[in-house]
């Protein structure tokens, strides 16, 4: 489903004008003169709240599962390429966008936001980013225009990525890199007030969100929306009340909202408890990728899978465990996507060890 929001253009322009003001402020005590030029980038979440065009449509989520691999070993780049080819072909067709991934990712520079908090053992696999990169290159995207990124360069390194902040080849760096940094202006959406990584504001034209499906000790679910905490300067401020409504509002910050075109959740190994760090005691193999251009629907299906795996291991539901995933409802409320499973069409593809593609089961 492509979500097009029919909001009142006039009203939006009015808000934009009222917020985009330059102030010249002279702060005079002790002869000190400070000049501030300030722009607030704001789009009220309320301007999206309850957007009916989203409510009435079905969202599409595609799950691709691969058998024949083990949790310990993980999947290879070739496995991921097979999975992505099958999954994206099905998913993009469902979106009526033709079968070319390029249609979904406008612009010249494509970003890939990883999740490397948990180190080598449970981060966005290098094999996955390599596989996506290869697909994008075959779709005609210049290799030099692919950016694999995370909040900090050392997180990427810790997960095994090789940094590359040069102008050649697939680039790979964190916001702390000298070529990135944070925006000069604050961006605001509902309760989120943050500086945003320049990777999102200035460097990339479209972004693929590549979270890892995990339990999160506060948010309940660490998926696509939560992964965008890595795009802002102050995620530590947004963990109260199970990250609600912050996870929704951060993903609604305008450059994030408009540039995040595709979510691919890595659900090969699932940290079903004690996340978001790595804990081998609570790791299970699901062997899947969850693909959607609706970030909320992708998370919602990810949540169902997580809850199912928790149940299989006699873990209480996240709600009973004291970390209900409340922010998905808020995300739907502000028109970021669909959280109601009744309005999400899930297509499950199974790829067996011989590479044969067939219909699969979610659980």
């Amino acid at each position: 489903m492509e979500t097009s929001c029919a909001h009142d253009e006039k009203q939006e322009k009015k808000i934009e004008n009222s917020k985009k003001k330059n102030f010249l402020s002279i702060f005079y005590p002790q002869g000190r003169i400070r000049i501030f030029t300030y722009t607030v980038k704001q789009k009220s979440v309320d301007s999206f709240r309850g957007n009916r065009c989203i409510i009435l449509s079905m969202s599409q989520v595609t799950i691709i599962r691969k058998t024949g691999a083990s949790a310990e070993k993980g999947l290879s780049k070739d496995d991921y390429i097979v999975m992505l080819n099958a999954g994206l072909e099905r998913h993009l067709k469902a979106l009526s966008l033709g079968n070319r991934l390029r249609n979904l990712l406008p612009g010249r520079v494509i970003g890939m936001k990883t999740n490397c908090l948990a180190g080598k053992l449970n981060s966005t696999p290098i094999a996955l980013t390599e596989a996506i990169g290869d697909l994008l290159v075959t779709e005609g995207i210049d290799e030099n225009n692919l950016v694999i990124w995370e909040r900090q360069s050392w997180e990427l390194e810790k997960a095994g990525y090789k940094l590359n902040a040069s102008s050649f080849g697939r680039r790979c760096f964190g916001t702390d890199s000298s070529i990135a940094g944070y925006s000069r202006d604050f961006y605001n959406s509902g309760k989120a007030n943050s500086l945003i990584t320049r990777i999102m504001t200035d460097i990339v034209d479209s972004n693929i969100n590549l979270p890892v499906l995990k339990d999160h000790s506060i948010a309940g679910l660490s998926g696509g929306l939560k992964n965008m905490f890595g795009a802002i300067n102050n995620p530590n401020k947004y963990h109260a009340d199970n990250c609600n409504p912050y996870a929704a509002h951060v993903s609604s910050l305008e450059p994030i909202r408009s540039k995040n075109k595709l979510t691919i959740i890595d659900a090969v190994k699932v940290q079903y408890n004690m996340g978001p760090g790595y804990d081998s005691r609570y790791l299970d193999f699901y062997g899947g990728l969850i693909i959607s251009s609706d970030p909320v629907a992708a998370d919602r299906i990810g949540l169902e899978i997580l809850e199912h795996i928790r149940g299989r291991h006699n873990q209480p539901t996240l709600e009973v465990a004291g970390r209900p995933v409340k922010y998905l409802k808020e995300a739907e409320e502000i028109g970021l996507g669909t959280a109601d499973p009744k309005r999400i069409a899930v297509d499950v593809i199974q790829i067996n060890s011989n590479g044969r593609v067939g219909k699969g089961e979610m659980f």
Partner: protein, 379 residues
């Protein structure tokens, strides 16, 4: 940022953030820098935090401030400067100030604490609140890896103060509570070297660490941001009750205390609030506790409000004086008579101030030279 680059070009290692005053820049460049060579560092510290407990099912609970962040492995608390690494809670900013300057003590403001002297002022990144009006958001709301930090262990700070004959160290600019361990250790060494320590804080701290800290402090200035809980909830992202409790605790222990109330137009500037504030101070801290009403300037997330009108500040001053508070000051209004200290007994001008400068100080042995009334404070 330009100033930082400027300082670097001068070969000055002392980071002075955009939040710090430029008045004493020559002091920093010429004095502090000459005393010791500093290096910027990209590394974060890994010093175990002092107030936290390990949770049964994994993770830690921070017990430093009333927020009591539950922090799982590899996550940070609300302040952004404390991190759980394998269920050991670490402070990441020990010995890593991002703002260093020498300021007049009046800038803190502390008006009853060694007037006319200087304070070696420092701050690290991070804060346990998120005030929408924050003047120093470019350090307080950032994580330590987002600021330029100096490598300055506690003993070096004390050494610098001795070299420059600075009698006081002020933990200020951002929120010193978040660099508790660093502050405590500096203050401890400073005391052994007859250097005083003052904390400029929002007062959002748990009682146990506060009591321990007060053993090393000589004065505290608390920003009481409002007297209403909803203001703390909506504007500060904190709570009022623990701050009030901390104020009572500081007074009870007997460490010198002054208050600042930033008057933000339309948000905390009603007569009722000023009266409520004055009555609370009178009842719980005493009429001799100085309070400074400070002028708000549009900053950070409150750009839409105007500068506080002078008349509003004067109204606050009048109400508090009417309620019986003896030392009511107006801040960020250079040249205003309410910047000076008057004897509550005879009304004589005791300390004549212009901005941060002392034009005359007539206090003799802590008393009014005319009527002999004891003036509270440390003179």
């Amino acid at each position: 940022m330009e100033r930082r680059l400027f300082l670097r070009c001068l070969g000055c290692g002392a980071a002075v953030t955009a939040a710090a005053n430029t008045d004493l820049l020559p002091d920093v460049v010429g004095g502090v820098q000459n005393a010791c060579a500093f290096d910027f560092t990209k590394k974060l510290s890994e010093v175990e935090a002092r107030y936290y407990k390990k949770l049964e099912n994994g993770g830690v609970e921070c017990e430093l401030c009333p927020r009591h962040c539950m922090v799982t492995d590899l996550e940070r608390g609300y302040c952004g400067v404390r991190e759980n690494r394998g269920d050991v809670y670490y402070t990441l900013i020990y010995g890593l100030p991002c703002a260093v300057n020498i300021d007049p003590i009046e800038k803190k403001p502390l008006f009853h604490f060694h007037p006319g002297t200087n304070a070696f002022s420092l701050a690290t990144a991070g804060c346990n609140c998120n005030c929408k009006f924050c003047q120093n958001w470019d350090i307080s709301q950032l994580r330590p890896e987002q600021t330029d930090n100096l490598d300055l262990p506690p003993k070096d700070i004390v050494q610098l103060c001795r070299a420059r004959n600075v009698p006081t160290i002020a933990y200020t600019y951002s929120e010193p509570i978040v660099f508790y361990e660093y502050m405590y250790d500096i203050a401890e060494i400073a005391h052994r070297n007859s250097i005083k320590s003052v904390m400029i804080t929002g007062g959002y701290i748990e009682k146990k660490p506060l009591r321990q800290l007060l053993t090393q402090l000589d004065a505290v200035k608390v920003d009481l941001k409002a007297i209403r809980e909803d203001y703390y909830k909506n504007i500060v992202d904190g709570e009022l009750r623990p701050v009030l409790e901390a104020l009572i605790e500081i007074k009870k222990i007997g460490v010198w205390l002054e208050l600042v109330y930033l008057v933000v137009p339309t948000l905390n500037d009603s007569d009722a609030e000023f009266r409520e504030l004055a009555q609370w101070i009178k009842t719980n801290l005493g009429t001799d506790t100085p309070i400074h009403f400070s002028r708000f300037h549009p900053q950070y997330l409150l750009k839409n409000l105007p500068i506080t009108p002078q008349s509003t500040l004067e109204r606050a001053h009048r109400i508090c004086r009417d309620e019986g508070l003896e030392y009511v000051y107006l801040g960020n209004l250079p040249g205003h008579p309410a910047e000076s200290t008057y004897c509550p007994g005879c009304g004589n001008l005791l300390i004549d101030r212009r901005g941060y400068r002392i034009l005359s100080n007539n206090i003799k042995n802590g008393t009014c030279p005319d009527c002999g009334k004891l003036i509270p404070g440390i003179f």
